[in-house]
Amino acid sequence: MRFSFFNVARQALAHNEGWPEQWRSPEPRPSYDAVIVGAGGHGLATAYYMAKEHGLTKIAVLEKGWLGGGNTGRNTTILRSNYLWEESAALYEHALKLWEGLSQELNYNVMYSPRGVMMLAHNIHDVQVAKRHIHANRLAGVDNEWLTPEGAKAFCPILNIARDMRYPIMGAALQRRGGTARHDAVAWGYARAASERGVDIIENCEVKAIRRSADGAVAAVETTRGEIATKKIAVVAAGHTSVVTGMAGVRMPLESYPLQALVSEPVKPAMPCVVMSNTIHAYMSQSDKGEMVIGAGTDAYVSYSQAGGLHIANHTLEAICELFPTVRRLRMLRNWGGVVDVTPDRSPIIGLTPVPGLFVNCGWGTGGFKATPGSGHVFAHTVARGEPHPLAAPFTLDRFRTGRLIDEAAAAAVAH
């Protein structure tokens, strides 16, 4: 049932008891044309665009836990496209353009809010790097502008621009089209739209093994809900990517780290934008519920524990309290971690693997949420056609052999 003024009014009169389930929960079929491993935002977006733009509907999305329960439900919901290199700017800008029309496209309110993302500069080096990013972005057609400290405070009034701070603010780069979206709604919206187009979303179904035929190509996945035959497996498993590809004997240039976030108790609107600081490792925005959403860095070592060290969060809170003195007496409600897969160059890997029929979309590291629609869109093309989408072509696994790395360590904005 579509969400429309008429349907909302009619269901309201019927005590909202007539809404159907937003997506089907079918039993797995014995075979599919393609199997997507991981029902997070990226996996569900991939399924949606495969069904919509490539006419494939015999697709299953397998999820070991619940839909959107991994990093999609754990991130800090920030959207932006101000990456340095042309390849990255093109990919993230593609995603940001899709965000702008996503609620209409999915008929589901993803609460896209272009409230502006401001990245602070605290020293001369920061200023030079930020200005370089601004010039590179503007040449690539991505909006980004330089603000003085006073301009930054005008844009975010609770920001502390005192000259006697330990790390005083010397300016900021502002991407006005950046902002936030509702993370759960993105997963739910894509799930609903994909399910309507015939995609089977199968939760509580963990992939345990990948079977390959005599010629080496993938033939089936063995899951906790039985064996499923398929010629194409698309792995979109974030922190668990190397675990899944390992089942087919494919090693990845990935390391998995816990990345933390925290939210405060809800307060009245005080924070009109997103503020990030690369140098002192903190970023913050305010959710529509009123919670201050704070992102910390990753732990220093490989772990699948989904819980980071307290000293990492503490380090971030010290910086937050200096940047925003008004939040010093706020209590934190929750602190959690997600397992992120980090590549050596902090850029994702989208494409084919040495095993025929096995595709990966991974390595989004600490900042994959912003790319969700674009990632799904280019990966759907890659899996459906068996060759990389032009925007995904630079992000091959092979770049670690050729040396054509896309180093975005400075744009990743999270300490790792």
Partner: protein, 100 residues
């Protein structure tokens, strides 16, 4: 925060005294000129990233300053063994290994 037993200092110390050095037992190719691009990529970038027991390097930067290795379960973060640099990876007794 981990409590890491330093095999040189002989005591458990908090994680912030240490610097993690990534996966252990990765040897640089002995003959660089004869090493292919794929082998260099393997050495530089590809890692086991195990969900289970990892052998990793640590340096006790705020203590003795020396390198050593540990075996740690990456799901529970429990440290199963520590051993000095240069020593072979020990066999972890199955009763302490959570997912051996």
């Amino acid at each position: 925060m981990l409590l890491i037993p330093c095999p040189y200092c002989g005591m458990e110390r908090p994680e912030i005294e240490f610097r993690n050095g990534g996966e252990a037992h990765i040897a640089r190719p002995a003959d660089p000129a004869a090493t292919s691009d794929a082998e260099w990529a393997e050495y530089l970038f590809f890692r086991q990233n195990p969900k289970g027991v990892i052998a990793e390097r640590w340096r006790h930067v705020s203590g003795c300053g020396r390198f050593f290795n540990s075996l740690r379960d990456t799901v529970s973060d429990r440290i199963l063994a520590v051993y000095k640099a240069g020593e072979p990876r020990p066999d972890v007794p199955p009763e302490v290994s959570l997912r051996a």
